[in-house]
Each structure stands twice: as structure tokens, then as C-alpha cells.
């Protein structure tokens, strides 16, 4: 993992824009419609190379593969684990990240139905022992990413993987005796993917929206109950991370990236200790949209774990307006003054690729991010970089 030793470094939360032809192929495979596997393989490889180069051109120091092989950050796991069967469903998830907002904003959600994740409208149900079967897909991702990195000059490379708690959002359990046994079984399964990413020399990014947005999924839960709920899932995640050095792991938390009101998101201060309980060396946290922007003040009171870095989201997916670089710099300086400039990297609230209105908006936001980091560096180190 990197420190901003002599300038503010930049990274992002994961998802990047898919070229339309690749998107069609990935969707066809996911939906079980006919497609040409050779065409998918070759297009995926070239698209990953393009997206890595594009990140470098935008000034991103720590890059990824854009999650291009995946239908989205979480459902890809469907094709990497076994022990479940799919049953017809409405396409809705077992746990909905808008459940809490829907109680107050029913009219809004009726007028703006969420587009469900790309993939089949079926519900996976765990009916036997879970096991990891994604070796080939994962090896292809690792291989494509390595090849793409060969031609560019970047400081670090990361690959994201999903968490047990988020996988639980869309899989029912009819096999394990209780939620805890189920979540720990998912953890054991995902351990193989985590280990393989780290063994390949990449920084592992754990995507854990569940840690904050489980709160939104469970509208009637109280705070103490929720903290217990979340703590068990953090323990499961740490079980999945066993044996992996902290400095090879960064945790990404966000409150669910839908463009709804987010009126009752759980405050960061109520879960920051749980976030820091995860065995990770760096922490990427949504921090730029208007329901979380004020939470930089949490770090007036809470210290980062020893040796950890913080990656606040300083540009967001929640608006198609492009952040002004001076605003990006203002946000970074605020964090740097609280936790130390060397411990702050500039990040995004969530993956921008499939969440902003258009690919060109994603790239413009990356450029604003990099320019903002340069301006913050100038303020914090008193010199240009």
C-alpha cells in the first residue's frame, strides 16, 4: 500500500465505464444467451488494457481493471461459487439497500424505479456447502490486468473483491443452520479469491458497502442491534482475510450508490470503530456527497489505526456536475490537516463507471480528481508537483 509521502496520490473505488460492445458480451454470458466466448475473451483483454491506460492518462496513481469482466461489483460472485440453485424471482434482492428510504420516499421510488443489476432476474438459494469455483474467471482477470499494466507507468495496482455481508444481500440460505454459519461459509469461500489476488502482487480492495448500507436494508433495526449485526459480518470478513497482511488490503465502504435521497444513512460516527476493526491497512470511505460531506469532522475525534491510510471520496457518482479542482483540493486539505498529509489519498465515493450519466463524465471527474490532488499538494507541501 502507498503513502502520500511527497504528494497526494490518487486512486478510485473501482467500476469504470464499459465499452458498449464488451457490455453486450458480458451481459449475454450472464443472461445465458448465445455469445462468442473467443470474442469476449479478446475484447475483454483489449478493453482492460485501454481502461488501464486511460486511468494513467488521467493521472490516477493506483489503478484497477475497471471491473470490466463483471456484471457489477457483487453479482459476479454468482459465477464464482457453487452450492446454490437459482430460482425464479422478481429480480429484487433479498435485502434492499433502499428499504429505509422507501418508507419515507415511496413516491420518489415509484416514479424512479431502480434499474436492477445487470443479470438474470433469479434468486440464488444456498442448498449445499458453498465452495469457490471461480478459479478460471479469476485467473483470466489477473492475467488480463497484468498484461495491461505492462505498458503503463503507475504507482500501484488494485483489484476489488466482494464481501460476505454483501453477498448475503442476494443469496438465500436453506443449508446452514443460521446466519452466522452462512456468512462464515461465504467467508471461507471468498478467502480463496482474496488470497489469489494478493499472491498475484495486487492490492486487494474489499468492497464492503454492506457495513454501512445493511442499516438501510433493515428499516426497523435499532442502533445497538445493528452494531451487533455488523460486528458479526466484520468478524466473518476478517475470517476471510486471515493470513493476509493488512498492508495488502484496503477496505472500501459506501452507503449504497443508488441516486436516491439517502435521507437516513447511518452516520459514520456510529460505525467508524467497526470499520477500523477490519484487518485492512487503508480505508476508502464515501465522503463527498451531501449526506456525508460533513463527516470529515469525525476525524477530529477518531484517530486512524496505526500505520493506516485514509482514502476519502472527494469526487462522487451522485451528480453529473464535475467537481471543481479547487473543491477537491479543499476537501483533501481538510483531511490532511486532521490525519496527516502522508496518510491521505484522493479517492472517489464509489465506482463511477456505471453510476454517472456517461463515460465522458467519469473521465472528466478523474481529471478533476488528479488536478485537485495537485492543487492540494501545492497547499500542503508549499510546492508544485
Amino acid at each position: 500500500m502507498l503513502y502520500s509521502t511527497d504528494r497526494i496520490l490518487t486512486t478510485h473505488a473501482g467500476s469504470l465505464p464499459r465499452p458498449p460492445d464488451l457490455r453486450d458480451l458480458v451481459l449475454a454470458k450472464a443472461n445465458g444467451t448465445p455469445y462468442d466466448p473467443a470474442a469476449l475473451d479478446s475484447r475483454l483483454r483489449s478493453a482492460v488494457a485501454e481502461v488501464v491506460r486511460r486511468q494513467a492518462e488521467c493521472g490516477i496513481d493506483c489503478v484497477n481493471d475497471g471491473e470490466l469482466s463483471k456484471t457489477n461489483f457483487t453479482d459476479y460472485v454468482r459465477w464464482r461459487i457453487a452450492g446454490y440453485e437459482t430460482r425464479p424471482s422478481s429480480g429484487a434482492r433479498r435485502l434492499s439497500i433502499t428499504a429505509r428510504d422507501e418508507t419515507k420516499f415511496a413516491g420518489y421510488f415509484e416514479a424512479n424505479p431502480r434499474r436492477w443489476s445487470l443479470g438474470p432476474p433469479t434468486m440464488p438459494v444456498c442448498v449445499g456447502e458453498l465452495r469457490y469455483v471461480g478459479q478460471a474467471d479469476l485467473a483470466r482477470d489477473l492475467d488480463n490486468f497484468k498484461a495491461a499494466l505492462a505498458g503503463v507507468n503507475v504507482a500501484e495496482a488494485f483489484l476489488p473483491a466482494n464481501t460476505p455481508g454483501t453477498i448475503e444481500h442476494w443469496m438465500l440460505n436453506e443449508h446452514y443452520q443460521d446466519d452466522e454459519a452462512f456468512v462464515f461459509a461465504i467467508a471461507d469461500t471468498m478467502h480463496e479469491e482474496y488470497q489469489a489476488i494478493v499472491d498475484s502482487g495486487f492490492l486487494l480492495q474489499i468492497d464492503d458497502p454492506d457495513l454501512p448500507d445493511g442499516w438501510n436494508c433493515l428499516p426497523d433495526i435499532t442502533l445497538p442491534e445493528y452494531r451487533n449485526y455488523a460486528a458479526m459480518r466484520v468478524d466473518a470478513l476478517n475470517h476471510a482475510l486471515r493470513g493476509i497482511p493488512k498492508d495488502k488490503v484496503r477496505l472500501h465502504v459506501c452507503w449504497g450508490s443508488h441516486h436516491g435521497p439517502h435521507h437516513d444513512d447511518i452516520p459514520l460516527k456510529d460505525i467508524i470503530d467497526l470499520i477500523f476493526r477490519v484487518d485492512a491497512g487503508s480505508f476508502s470511505i464515501e465522503a463527498s456527497n451531501p449526506c456525508h460531506e460533513h463527516e470529515w469532522r469525525v476525524f477530529e475525534e477518531v484517530k486512524l489505526p496505526e500505520g493506516a491510510t485514509l482514502i476519502p471520496g472527494v469526487v462522487g457518482h451522485f451528480t453529473d456536475f464535475i467537481e471543481h479542482p479547487d473543491l477537491v483540493a479543499e476537501r483533501l486539505v481538510r483531511y490532511a490537516r486532521l490525519v496527516g498529509r502522508e496518510n491521505v489519498l484522493a479517492g472517489t465515493d464509489c465506482g463511477l463507471g456505471t453510476r454517472v450519466g456517461h463515460p465522458s463524465i467519469c473521465w472528466a471527474k478523474f481529471e478533476a480528481l488528479a488536478e485537485g490532488a495537485r492543487r492540494a499538494t501545492k497547499i500542503l507541501w508549499g510546492r508544485a508537483c
Binding site: P261, C291, G357
Partner: protein, 402 residues
Amino acid sequence: MKASLDHIITSHAGSLPRPDGLIAANRAVETGEPVDEQAFQQTLSAAVAEVVRYQHDLGIDIPGDGEFGKPMGQRVNYGSWWRYSWQRLGGLDPDGPGFDTAPRRSGPGEVVLTTFRDRRDRSQFAAAYADPESGITTGPRPPAPTCVAPITYTGHDAIRTDIANFKAAMRAAGVEEGFMSSVAPGSASRIGNAYYKSEEELLYACADAMREEYKAIVEAGIILQLDDPAIAENWDMVNPEPTVEDYRKFSMLRVEALNHAIRGLPEDRIRFHLCWGSWHGPHMTDIPMRDIVGVMLAINAHAYSFEAGNVRHEHEWKVWQEVKLPDDKLMLPGVVSHATNVVEHPELVAERILRFANVVGRDRVIASTDCGLGGRVHPQIAWAKLEALAQGAALASRQLWR
């Protein structure tokens, strides 16, 4: 004009979500269906009464009429704040050649407006603007009319109705002070011209005509809000990018016309609203506040409302560390925004208010919105944002008057 004497008071930029019944009634008028005038008026006045009471309940100190008298026949509509003037001005031909017919290029010392399609943000992000799924919606864009005869004000009945509805609503809700928006000449004159010899003549004709509406609002004891986003957003409509100096000169002509239109009216009954255009695009080509603030302050208004709650303009509170807000003036920074569906946290609203209050003084800040929320976000989100605005102002007040 009310100021924040013992707490941060709240207002907003104008447009509020119309109830479905009013939208349907406006739509019927728009499409030429037979309309029962009396029933229409009842729907309108009842809606104004309701929206004023609702703002009051949410904690908005200086409510408006939601611009309900400015017809909006769709839930998503970004343009009623200026298109309403097409129905209140005489001398216009709706079927004329229109306004933005062919791209026009500006040169040094010669700034001209090009077409909406040729705007610079739109050109830079052409694929994003062209993608129907991108979310850069602006609702319907009917073609602008063309001026073919002397421009006159013909909206006397309409403004009389607006005023009567609003005053009745304020009385019923126990509201002392309210505001009503009216389009400024700079924005009203963005129509085709087949009559006047120059743009300047057209601009002053609009100024003289609209003056009647301004006078009516002020004489009724209502705070007049002059809407002139054109002062800032014309910048994006000049292609290629002009020098700041040329653009200021171009905009000062519009400011002088506006000052001409409000001559003799009491300054402390007038506030001005500036924004960079409310569509949900990248806004990469917005002119920086620093470059336009002097032009804005040349307008003879008592208070200035401007965008400050979105990611393109939030950092510009710092401008006020360098530029002095004249001692007797107030500001209405936008601290909640139409730019996102995400509802601002009251603590963020308070933080934004405090930033301004610490620079210009607490008694000179009125907490407001970036732009009108009606037609731009879903009604439930608009109301939640106004509620967050009031809660944030209360939090800020507690810190500023403890």
C-alpha cells in the same frame, strides 16, 4: 427586507413542485383543450395557498408562490421561469424563425450568443448530452418566439392574479414577508428579433415592458426576485470562449438594462438570483464566480442569491474573502441543491452557512437553494431538501448566536 437578526432565516430560489392537478390543468391549456377558466383559477389559487402553508410548516421564513402562476405542464421542466414571459409580452410571433437558429461565432471585442446546441459544455460533452439515458434532462424545450413588433407588457391580468393568490395564501398562513420571481431583461431577451435594429434595443424594450411586472410586485408589498441566470450562463453560450473582459462588457449591458428597468423602485424590496443554468450536465465551462461577482454586485438589488451548494461552485465561498459584500447588502447562498437527489445533511447545511457567516457576518446571510427545486427534482426530494435547509439553518443559528 427581512434579515437574519437573531437567527439564520431561510428562503429558496423560486420554483417548487406543482401538484399533479395543476400540472394536468396547465397541460390542458398548453395542448389547447377546452378549459373551464373558473375551475382552473380555483385549482391555481388552492395550490398556491397549499404551497405557502407547506413552506411555512417546513420552516421557510421567506416563502414564495412556488412560481405556480408560471405554467408548467410537465413534472420535469427546467424552463417555466423564463418561458412564462412569452405569454406576458406583446409583439412576439410564436411561429417566427426563433432565437437560436444557426451557430454564431464570437471574436475579440465582439461577443454574440450562439445556439443552445452549440454551447461549449454541450460541445465538449456531446456524447453525454446526446445520450437519452445520461440523465442530463431539461424537460421540454419549445422554440422561442420572435419579436416582430414593439414589445409591450400584456401580463397585467396574470400578474394581478399571481399577486392576489400569493397575498391571500400569505395571509392564511400567517406569513409576513414573501417573494415573487420575475424574469430579468437579459434572460427575457433571448428570443428571436425581426423588429429591433439591435440586440441592445430589444434588451431595453424587454426592460421597459417587464418593468410593469416589477412595479406591480413591489407595489403589492412583495419582495421582487429578479431571475437572471443569463448573466452567468451566457458565458457557456459564447463560442469560442471570450476574454473575461469582453464578457463582462457584454453582461454589463444587460445589468444596465436591468437597472434601467428597476429605476426608482426601492432597492431594499429587490433581490437578485444568479445561477449557471440548472440542467444536470457537467458544467465544466461555467464562468468562475470570481470573474462575474463584480457584474452581479453592480445590480441595484439589496440581496444576492447564487449557487454555492453544488460541486462546481461550492468552493467559491472563498471569493467573499477577497470581494467585499457592500455593508448594506445581504446574500442568499445556495446551501441545498437541485444538482443531486441525495438530500443534504443538516450538519453540512450548517457548515456551509457558517462558512459564509464567518466571512460576511451572520446577519447578512439568508440560507437558500442553488436554484428552484420544482421541475428539477422529485417533489418528495424537494420537500426533504427544504426541511434539511431549515434544520441546517437552526443548527447554524445555535452556533452563531450561542
